[in-house]
């Protein structure tokens, strides 16, 4: 056996760091299908998982990959898959199954430029609304967005911890640049890494209800095959997991699925700010584009412009309250993202009536330049 936590200093890509973060978090199952620019995550997991007592399966496609991940998690194993745009589209159906069955798991989307096959080896952030609404029905989702290899490591651990705590799939929305960029990654000792495990049921196995809410509105989760009564279906179901085609049951189930996220926003939402204290313009960004935003804020400050940055570590759920509070005291927002306006729509919605919001974006294939951001910042001040 090899150590699951590669304590030490490494020079690795964001993809490799993501895989190492998963292993450090306790992930022991990966079901996937290779796709640029996410293949290196699968490659690393294929090489490492068997040596730490885990299982890697290359499935026949991404539909099956996502099904395998949901199944493995129901069996009690922390599980993950990684893909890019075309595969993410195929995963949407079973992602919804994972949400409905309240299955902890992590899905990584190393975004490339779309639509369709698009630019396989080039970056974009065009799947942010798909992350929010890509599967059918009304639900809440947690999505993180790392901007460096080091963040890919830590955010993957965070993703597993949130998935386990809230019994839900968690998305990591990275991109080709972060995935393929090599940087220094420092991996701490295993005992310094905080790991969250799903709450397990207690009491009589024949009295267990797999969907009876516990702490935070989250039901304790038994693994299939342990002897607890476990019935799972994508149909609307009651606390026993049995189908119930009534409006009342639908109301109860969906409200609880949505509520376990909405009622715990303070615990889930994470943002970082840079020079926001006296900022007149707030540059909002996430993932790789925060690197552009950071450089632009520094340059703007050198020009005497009071710019600051709000970095969304969790993009979903969206930090509505924070944007609204800022909107009350700043001159405006500039959202930086590699698409033609997705998170920008959220910023605009939350700032509406209080402050203007501009977008700096493009169709994908390259990073946004700091100059383009500074130009937009100037338009606001």
């Amino acid at each position: 056996m090899e150590p699951a936590v590669l304590t030490g200093e490494h020079y690795m890509t964001g993809d490799e760091a993501c895989a190492e973060g998963a292993l450090a978090a306790g992930c022991r199952f990966f079901g996937g299908y290779p796709i640029t620019p996410a293949t290196e995550i699968a490659e690393t997991m294929a090489a490492r998982l068997p040596k730490v007592g885990g299982t890697f399966i290359q499935m026949e496609d991404e539909i099956a990959a996502m099904a395998a991940v949901v199944g493995a998690s129901c069996g009690g194993v922390k599980s993950m898959t990684a893909t890019s745009g075309p595969g993410f589209s195929l995963m949407m159906e079973n992602l919804g199954l994972g949400i409905c069955l309240e299955t902890p798991c992590v899905v990584v989307n190393v975004q490339r430029a779309g639509p369709s096959t698009g630019l396989p080896t080039m970056a974009a952030q065009g799947d942010m609304m798909q992350a929010r609404w890509g599967s059918h029905g009304h639900y809440e989702i947690i999505a993180l967005s790392p901007s460096s290899a080091q963040e890919a490591f830590y955010q993957t651990i965070l993703a597993f911890n949130l998935a386990e705590k809230y019994r839900t799939p968690v998305l990591i929305m990275t991109d080709e640049v972060v995935g393929h960029m090599s940087e220094r990654v420092v991996i701490p000792e295993a005992k310094a890494i905080k790991i969250v495990e799903r709450t397990r049921p207690r009491g009589r196995k024949d009295r267990y209800n797999p969907f009876e809410p516990g702490e935070f509105g989250v039901p304790p989760m038994a693994s299939a095959g342990e002897g607890y009564n476990v019935h799972m279906t994508g149909l609307t179901h009651d606390e026993r997991g049995y189908p119930d085609m009534s409006v009342e049951c639908q109301e109860q189930m969906v409200n609880r699925l949505v509520g376990k996220i909405r009622n715990n926003l303070d615990d889930i939402i994470r943002t970082e700010s840079h020079r926001l204290e006296d900022a007149e313009v707030v540059v909002v960004s996430y993932g790789v584009s925060t690197r552009t935003a950071y450089a632009a804020v520094e340059e703007a400050r050198e020009l005497g412009i009071k710019a600051g940055m709000l970095k969304l570590v969790t993009v979903w759920p969206f930090p509505e309250r924070q944007i609204r509070e800022l909107a009350g005291r700043v001159k405006g927002f500039v959202t930086v993202e590699i698409n033609l306006g997705q998170i920008h729509l959220e910023v605009s919605r939350c700032a509406a009536g209080l402050a203007p919001a501009l977008l700096v974006g493009h169709c994908g294939g390259t990073l946004i330049s700091p100059e383009a951001v500074i130009e937009a910042v100037r338009r606001i001040v």
Partner: protein
């Protein structure tokens, strides 16, 4: 910069950053070359560094480049815009990037793959492909180029570069790759020595 006792201004700090582009075709080990330089700077010399790889959807033969930034400061924007060092292992790479190379930057070429004709600026040439063939493996031209870059530009220390080559190549090939690195490094030192000698002769004549 020697002798300055005042703390550096932000602009001066930025000058510490070195931007490097290595260009070639998919399959030549261009990304590995970039990774060795970046890793040598990061883990060996304890500087900050980023490596961006850029290539097309084809697995071999397409245009490929590695962009490395080495800095004493945190690197935010990871794209290279005005390289200080441009190492070309393909004609296309030279044609694409020579225009953005800093005026006082280093241009290095594999003279077997890139024609020096038409280059209107100072450059350093090495027959790295031919030297690699002589050492028994054409594939090692990238490692020879790393030795050459290290000697000519001093962007990473020789010790860090050599150690990183040893750690980065497939097991069992360390010895021949270290020989390739040494070959490129010594070739670089010889080129520098030749230039110094020439400059001294010229200075002597003037005196």
């Amino acid at each position: 910069m020697k002798g300055i006792v005042h703390p550096m201004t932000d602009n001066q700090k930025k000058l510490v950053a070195k931007e490097i582009i290595i260009t070639g075709f998919g399959g030549q080990g261009i990304v590995l070359a970039g990774k060795i330089l970046g890793q040598a700077a990061s883990l060996g010399d304890h500087l900050e560094s980023t490596l961006i790889q850029s290539y097309g959807p084809e697995s071999r033969g397409g245009a490929c480049s590695a962009q490395v930034i080495i800095s004493s400061e945190t690197i935010h924007y990871p794209y290279v815009r005005k390289p200080d060092i441009l190492a070309c292992m393909s004609q296309g790479g030279l044609d694409k990037f020579v225009g953005v190379l800093e005026d006082d930057g280093f241009l290095l070429i594999d003279q077997d793959l890139v024609s020096p004709a038409g280059i209107s600026r100072d450059y350093y040439a090495i027959p790295s492909t031919r030297l690699a063939e002589e050492l028994g493996r054409k594939m090692m031209a990238n490692i020879i180029m790393i030795g050459f870059i290290t000697a000519v530009t001093g962007v990473v220390t020789m010790e860090s570069a050599r150690d990183t080559v040893e750690k980065s190549v497939p097991k069992g090939t360390e010895k021949m790759n270290l020989a390739a690195f040494q070959k490129g490094y010594e070739y670089g030192l010889a080129v520098l020595k030749g230039r110094r000698k020439k400059a001294e002769e010229k200075a002597g004549k003037v005196a």
